[in-house]
Structure formats: structure tokens, C-alpha cells
């Protein structure tokens, strides 16, 4: 209220040092918030941009690798189409359950990525394919997976992929001739295994006979199945003969979304505790450097806690004086009046005080201030009004009936006192 009635200085007028600043608000202005968060926003933006750039740079042709639906250079659509033309059905599966269900004497099961299978998956797969009497083709199984998927066989160090002669008695290899082989070289304890395409004395193409008419084919590198190499050397011939020996081809592309990848290998029932399996899976995936680095950071955090926890001397206590407001009893009395609606008492107190103040003003001795027969005529005479009933009702009347009447009475008493003072 006072601010609006204050004279507003002219726009060019100099402001005094005591002129308050335009705003007294302590909350931040939008500009301040912007200044505060723009650094963070810029950092977030940079992070996102770097992430996108990195993803774009690293997403090379590896996408759709060995996928029988992919026409990319490293895809395998060409061999799949050729097999279809020859009457072989090609089914793509991505889960272990589908792959094991499809295993059978009429089926060739191609495992595109045996190295990404978990230990449990390898066990399940081996159990299904070992005595299915069908053919199992493992594409470039590494050291970790070959021991489980083809027992008795070991993978040796990998070599380059080049054209190599078949150099064995396998009919398919003989008819195919040279082919682009290489990659892992295998060493096996199985006596009747057929070893082809040797590199530095060890085969990169190995056929292991299994139970019944079944066999397992180990392929040292996937290159001969790729679209871009299929038409070179005897690649196509070798691929078609290897994969087309049975009327059905099941192409197993292991995927991360496969629920069996989460199974705990030690759990015999097959339905393990998901939380523990996920936790161990996550820790397995994190590189060990991060784990050890985090452990060291935790140690640093403990040291920091010790640093901050040590206080420079104990707290100092102090005896403080009591803080009782002297007016507390008066305020309590006011609340008590309000609670009990003591209008009569409040009105009498206020009237009595007004009478005491009026008495000296109108020339009545203070000891007669509370008696109507002295005070009222004096007040009437002072105000110059003939009838004294108003003043009598005001100063000695009955208690007000409601709260509004009490407030009004107070104001009227003030008005009367003012009138007497000014008359």
C-alpha cells in the first residue's frame, strides 16, 4: 500500500543509495537458471553427439553377418537361396529351444556363432545334437566352445584365410577342390575323423562322425559362406555339399534375447533364480579393469569419509538463557477470552478503560469515573448533545450479543473518545 502511494521517480532521475532494488524476490530469474544449466546442457549435447558419431563410425559391415537373409557382403543369403533352389528348406532360428527341437536325422543344424553361446547353452546343444543322427555344422568354434560342442577336439591358433587344396578323401571336399579356408585349426583325438584343408599341418575343416549316421562338421572360418566369396574357388560347391546333405537346414543364429542365455549352468532344473543369474551375467560382462578400478575407488571413498569425519576438536556446548516472552500471559488471556467467547468481560474491560480515560477529559474526578450518574452528564455536556442515552448505552450498556457487535463497540468507544478529545 505504501509503495503504490510513494512518488515514482522520473525515468532519468538519479536514484538514491537507499532506493530498493527493483525486485526483492529471492527465487532465480530465468536468465540465471539458463546461465546455470547451459553448461550441463552443452555437456549432455556433446555426450549424445559423441555417442552418435561413435556408433556411426563403428557400425561397419558386421551387421547381418552370416545371416541367411542378409544380402551384405558378409551375409549368407546367396548360399541359402542356392540351397532352396535345390529343394532344401532353410529355417532361421534364434533361440536354443527352437534349435534343439529341430535337431533330427533329416536335419542339418548350422550354428553360426558357437563362441557366443554360454556354457549352459553349449551343454544343452551338445546333448541335443550328439545323438540326433543329423549333421551339425559349427562355424569357427573357438577354444572355449569346441571342447564342449565337439568333445575330444581342440582348437589351435588361427591362421589366415586363403585358398587351400582339399587334401583329403572326403567326397565333398574332393569335388569342391580348393576353397577359401583358414581360421581356427583343429586337433582331434577321434580316430575316424576326416581332416581337410590343412593349414600348417592342422585341418581347418574337420568332419567328426557321431552316433548313427550323424556327424559334426567344424569349419575353421565362416568366409566360404559369405556372399562375397561364395562364387570363388570351390566355395559354393563345398558349402552346398556340406549344408545340403539333409533335406532340412536349420540356421541357428544365437541372440542375446534368447532366454536360455540367462540360465544358470549349475542349475539342474533349468529354471534358475533370475536375479542372481542376471547379476552374475552382468559382472561377467563387465571388464575386470572396471571392477578393480571401482574397488580402488571404493577404497578412496572410505579414505575420503575418514578425512571428512575427523572433526577439528569437539563441539562446544553452551548454556542458553530461557526465551519466554513477557507478553505470553497476556496473549494467553486473549486466547482464553476468544475460546470462551467472553464478550461481556472484554467489553467491560474496554469500557472501563475508556471511562478512566474520559473522566479527566470531561472534568470528573478519577474516583467517580466508574459511576454513570457523574460521568454521563459530563460527557453529554462536553459534546453538547441534549440526549445522553447514546453515551450511556455505549459506556454502561449491556454486553454485546455477538462478535461483530463487540468489534463495533470498540470502534464506537474509540470514536467517542476522539470526539471528546477534539471538542
Amino acid at each position: 500500500m505504501t509503495e503504490t502511494s510513494m512518488p515514482v521517480p522520473a525515468p532519468g532521475a538519479p536514484r538514491g543509495p537507499e532506493t530498493p532494488s527493483p525486485t526483492t524476490s529471492v527465487s532465480r530469474a530465468p536468465q540465471q537458471i539458463w546461465r546455470r544449466v547451459r553448461g550441463l546442457l552443452l555437456a549432455a549435447l556433446l555426450l549424445v553427439a559423441a555417442g552418435i558419431t561413435f556408433a556411426a563410425l563403428t557400425s561397419d559391415g558386421a551387421h547381418g553377418r552370416l545371416d541367411p537373409r542378409s544380402p551384405d557382403p558378409t551375409g549368407s543369403r546367396a548360399v541359402a537361396e542356392l540351397l532352396k533352389n535345390r529343394g532344401v528348406t532353410v529355417d532361421v532360428v534364434t533361440t536354443l529351444d527352437e534349435a534343439t527341437a529341430a535337431a533330427g536325422p533329416d536335419t542339418t543344424l548350422l550354428v553360426a556363432g558357437p563362441n557366443v553361446l554360454t556354457a549352459y547353452q553349449r551343454h544343452v546343444l551338445r546333448a541335443a545334437t550328439g545323438d540326433s543322427s543329423g549333421r551339425t555344422v559349427l562355424v569357427a568354434p573357438g577354444r572355449s566352445s569346441v571342447g564342449t560342442l565337439a568333445p575330444g577336439t581342440h582348437a589351435d591358433s588361427a591362421g589366415p584365410v586363403t585358398s587351400r587344396p582339399a587334401d583329403c578323401d572326403l567326397p565333398a571336399a574332393r569335388s569342391a577342390g580348393t576353397a577359401d579356408t583358414g581360421g581356427f585349426r583343429y586337433r582331434t583325438d577321434t580316430h575316424d575323423a576326416v581332416a581337410c584343408y590343412p593349414a600348417d599341418g592342422l585341418p581347418t575343416f574337420l568332419v567328426l562322425p557321431e552316433h548313427g549316421t550323424g556327424d559334426t562338421v567344424l569349419l575353421g572360418s565362416p568366409d566360404l559362406l559369405h556372399n562375397d566369396r561364395l562364387d570363388q574357388q570351390g566355395n559354393a560347391s563345398l558349402a552346398l555339399q556340406t549344408l545340403g546333405s539333409r533335406p532340412h537346414l536349420v540356421w541357428y543364429l544365437p541372440s542375446l534375447s534368447d532366454p536360455s542365455a540367462m540360465e544358470n549352468p549349475g542349475d539342474g532344473s533349468g529354471s534358475g533364480d533370475d536375479g542372481a543369474a542376471v547379476g552374475s551375467g552382468f559382472l561377467d560382462l563387465v571388464p575386470s579393469g572396471w571392477l578393480w578400478g571401482t574397488l580402488q575407488l571404493a577404497l578412496a571413498a572410505v579414505l575420503a569419509a575418514i578425512w571428512r569425519a575427523r572433526r577439528l576438536g569437539p563441539l562446544v556446548t553452551e548454556r542458553l538463557p530461557v526465551a519466554v516472552r513477557a507478553s505470553e500471559s497476556t496473549e494467553g488471556r486473549a486466547r482464553l477470552y476468544r475460546k470462551t467467547n467472553a464478550r461481556d468481560r472484554a467489553a467491560e474491560t474496554l469500557r472501563s478503560a475508556t471511562r478512566d480515560r474520559l473522566a479527566p477529559l470531561v472534568g470528573v474526578p478519577i474516583r467517580d469515573a466508574q459511576s454513570p450518574e457523574f460521568l454521563i452528564p459530563a460527557v453529554s455536556a462536553c459534546l453538547g448533545i441534549p440526549s445522553d442515552s447514546d453515551a450511556a448505552a455505549l459506556l454502561f450498556g449491556p454486553a454485546p450479543a455477538d462478535d461483530a457487535a463487540l468489534v463495533l463497540l470498540t470502534d464506537q468507544l474509540d470514536a467517542l473518545e476522539r470526539e471528546v478529545r477534539t471538542s
Binding site: 579393469g289 578400478g293 580402488q296 575427523r310 538463557p321 530461557v322 478503560a353 468489534v407
Partner: protein, 437 residues
């Protein structure tokens, strides 16, 4: 033993070699064993804290609101350089704000065998004695990785004196006092006045004050002049009982009463009267015998008042009266700084008042509450009107109590904290002018 942020930082940086170069127990050991050795070496090489010697100098008293400097001298008798952080701990009310508390922390370096001096600034927020608690020293090693920590007890007390804000009223009251001295013949002689001098009669002087004997000796008419008697005794009695604890504004009633007492003391000391002080609730809390008039008494009174705190007990009025009578063997002006609440006065003070008034002039001064006065003026809403009724009732009761006291011949001063000191000084001057001291 205390670690530093540097230690934690080094350990955190160690996570890089551990994570990148050697993620194994070997890597952890390779990082942490040298770090632990460095911490131990640092601890061993830090200057010892136990043998440090401390002495204090500086202010021993400060007026409330002013700043006190307390100097701390640190002697490092060891053969090693002392790099230290130090906390000179004082009670929290030794500073007015959190920011000022930073003054208790020091960072310093003292070469081997030398001394360093630190200054702690205090700006107390409450009256009373502030005692230094202890000095905590953290002595860092040369690498800043670890520190020795220890405590020393270096006692020192700073007495925080009442602020005496009513000082500003002193010049005007002193001027009135001088006028009083000069009011020669106008001042009627009587009890409490003494003969001052003779001077030549000027028209307008009271003819009754003509000294005929002196006139006969000289050629002109001489009149006698009088002045208020000097060397009167004043006993200021502070009631430190529960009624003095109530807060009026932001300070206890006792502090407002002290302010008024200080102005009275300063004024009376200049007027040549002897001021004594007594603080009492159920026993004597403070006592000052102003034997010698002059400036000393004011500082004695201020010092005596400084540590006084209100006690939450009912004042023993009988004991207070006895103590006051024992303290004022000669006829005195008793200035009683107490409350005008009905119950304590009617049950405590009134019965013993005749003993006091028989020999002495009694002045009762009380601190009124401006908040109650504001409540009395409340209008407009029903709450405000009830507040006004309650405030009026309280004021009425105080007035009635004051009237009761006045009927016993007691002078009563009842004023808000700001107005109490000048009002009390005026009452004193009026009594002096009337020759009632």
C-alpha cells in the same frame, strides 16, 4: 591421526593404474602399499602437537556488539616445521553469525623453534563471560597426506559487558543536572539541600533567602544560595528472579533494567552521589560498594552486571529487603528494578515495603512490554479486540499495582525498554531537585 583430501584424491587416482594396467590384487597392492607407506612417513614427519606451547594475550572485556581480539601465541619447540590447522574453540554465542565463526579457524606455518601469533576475532551476541574452551591443532606432514591432531587447554575469559545503549541520553541529563546546581535561590531550602554560597541580591530573589547577618557585614544585600546535597547514597537493587527472565522485544527484562541502572549510575556518579549495586533473587548475585565517587564506580557496576543471568526462581522479597537494608546502612535512595506483576508485588514486595520506606526513599522501576501496548491498540477483528481487552486488563493491573506502591510513598517508573533509562534518570533528577534524596 587425521587424513587429508589429498590422500583420498591419490587413492582415487590410483584406480586408473589399477583399472588399466593391472586389474588384480597385485595392482591394488602396488598402488596402496606405497600410499600407506607415504601416509605413515608423513605422520611420522609431522611436527609433534603435544609439545607445542600456547600463551594468550588480548582483550579481557568487550562491550556487547563490539569486537574483541584475543591473540594466541604458538611456540614450536620441536626441530620440525609446523604446518598446521588450528581451531580456537569458543562458545557459539562468541560470534554473531555463522560466517564470523570462521574466525576461529586458522591455517599457519611456524618454523622449527620459532613462534607464531594468531588473532581470533570475537563479536559476542550475548552478555556474560565467554571462556575459551580448547585449542585443537592438526599438524600436517611435509607431503600433506596425514596429520597429527591434538588438543591444548589454554584458558582465557572475555567478559561481555552490557551494551549501555542509553549512553546517548547521558549528555542531556547531565545538562539538566548542571541547571539544577545553578538554580540557586529558586530552590527552596529543606531536607537534602545544603548551603552553597552567598551572592548579591537581584530583584526577583525570594526575600526570605536574604542573609541579614551577611548583609550587615557588607554594603550590599546578600542572599544565600542552596544546592542539592552531594554525597547522597543510592542503592540500585536488581531483581534477577523469574520475572526478569521474560523477553521484551528480543532481550530479557533484566537487560533493559541493567541499561537503565547504568544510566542512573553514570548520572549519579557525576552528581557526586555514591552508587551501590545489589543483585538478588534468593541470594546475593552481585554486589558493588561504590565507596569512592567518580568514574570507577561505573566500570565496577558494568563488570559486576556482565555475568548476571535471570534465574528461574521466585524472588525472596523478605531476603531482598534484608539484604538491601544491610547494604544501605545510611539513608539512601533505594532504586528497585523489579516487575509490576500483581502477584509478586502483592505477596512479596508490599509486606516488606514499610521496612524499606521507614528509613529510605524507595523508587520502583519496571520494564513494560511494548508488545502488550501494541495489543491494547488492536482493532478491527475479533481476535484483535480480545487482544486489546487482555492488553488493557494487563495494563490496568500494572497501574493498580503501581498505585498500591505509590500509596506507600514509593515513586514508580513504568516504561518500555527504550524509555525506561531516561525515565528513571528523570525520576532521579526530580527527586534530587525536590531534595528528597
Amino acid at each position: 591421526m587425521a587424513l587429508t583430501g589429498r590422500t583420498a584424491l591419490l587413492a582415487a587416482l590410483g584406480s586408473l593404474p589399477v583399472g588399466i594396467l593391472a586389474p588384480s590384487w597385485t595392482g591394488m597392492l602396488a598402488v596402496n602399499v606405497p600410499l600407506s607407506l607415504a601416509i605413515l612417513c608423513d605422520y611420522a614427519l609431522a611436527a609433534p602437537v603435544r609439545t607445542l606451547r600456547f600463551t594468550r594475550t588480548g582483550d579481557t572485556s568487550v562491550r556487547l556488539g563490539d569486537t574483541a581480539n584475543v591473540r594466541l601465541t604458538v611456540t614450536n619447540p620441536s626441530g620440525r616445521r609446523l604446518r598446521a590447522q588450528l581451531r580456537d574453540a569458543w562458545p557459539p554465542s562468541s560470534w554473531s553469525s555463522e560466517a564470523e565463526q570462521a574466525a576461529s579457524h586458522h591455517r599457519f606455518t611456524v618454523p622449527a623453534g620459532e613462534r607464531g601469533r594468531l588473532t581470533t576475532l570475537l563479536r559476542p551476541s550475548r552478555r556474560g563471560d565467554r571462556q575459551a574452551q580448547h585449542v585443537t591443532v592438526r599438524s600436517f606432514g611435509p607431503l600433506g597426506l596425514a596429520a597429527r591432531q591434538g588438543r591444548h587447554d589454554v584458558p582465557w575469559t572475555v567478559r561481555v559487558l552490557p551494551p549501555f545503549t542509553s549512553r546517548k541520553h547521558l549528555p542531556s541529563r547531565l545538562a539538566r543536572l548542571r541547571e539544577l546546581d545553578g538554580r540557586t535561590s529558586v530552590l527552596t531550602r529543606g531536607e537534602g539541600t545544603e548551603f552553597d554560597s552567598l551572592r548579591a541580591y537581584v530583584p526577583g530573589d525570594d526575600t526570605r533567602s536574604i542573609d541579614w547577618r551577611a548583609t550587615a557585614r557588607q554594603s550590599s544585600v546578600a542572599v544565600r544560595t542552596w544546592r542539592p546535597e552531594r554525597d547522597r547514597h543510592i542503592l540500585v537493587v536488581l531483581d534477577t528472579g523469574r520475572t526478569s527472565a521474560g523477553r521484551v522485544g528480543d532481550v530479557p527484562r533484566l537487560d533493559a533494567a541493567m541499561d537503565a541502572a547504568l544510566l542512573l549510575t553514570a548520572l549519579a556518579a557525576r552528581a557526586g552521589d555514591r552508587v551501590n549495586l545489589l543483585a538478588y533473587d534468593r541470594r546475593v548475585r552481585a554486589r558493588v560498594r561504590g565507596g569512592a565517587a567518580g568514574g570507577d564506580v561505573l566500570s565496577a557496576v558494568v563488570t559486576a552486571m556482565a555475568p548476571l543471568e535471570p534465574e528461574l526462581v521466585e524472588t525472596d522479597a523478605r531476603g531482598l529487603s534484608t539484604a538491601a537494608l544491610a547494604h544501605a546502612p545510611r539513608r539512601s535512595l533505594l532504586v528497585l528494578l523489579t516487575s509490576l506483576d500483581a502477584a509478586p508485588v502483592e505477596e512479596g514486595l508490599l509486606p516488606v515495603l514499610p521496612q524499606l520506606t521507614r528509613r529510605h526513599t524507595v523508587l520502583v522501576a519496571s520494564v513494560a512490554d511494548p508488545h502488550v501496548e501494541a495489543m491494547t491498540r488492536g482493532r478491527g477483528s475479533i481476535e484483535a479486540v480480545y487482544g486489546a481487552a487482555a492488553g488493557t486488563r494487563t495494563a490496568e493491573q500494572r497501574r493498580r499495582t503501581a498505585d498500591q506502591l505509590r500509596r506507600h510513598g514509593v515513586t514508580v517508573v513504568d516504561a518500555t525498554p527504550d524509555a525506561l533509562a531516561p525515565a528513571l534518570a528523570d525520576a532521579y533528577l526530580a527527586l534530587k531537585a525536590a531534595g528528597r534524596l
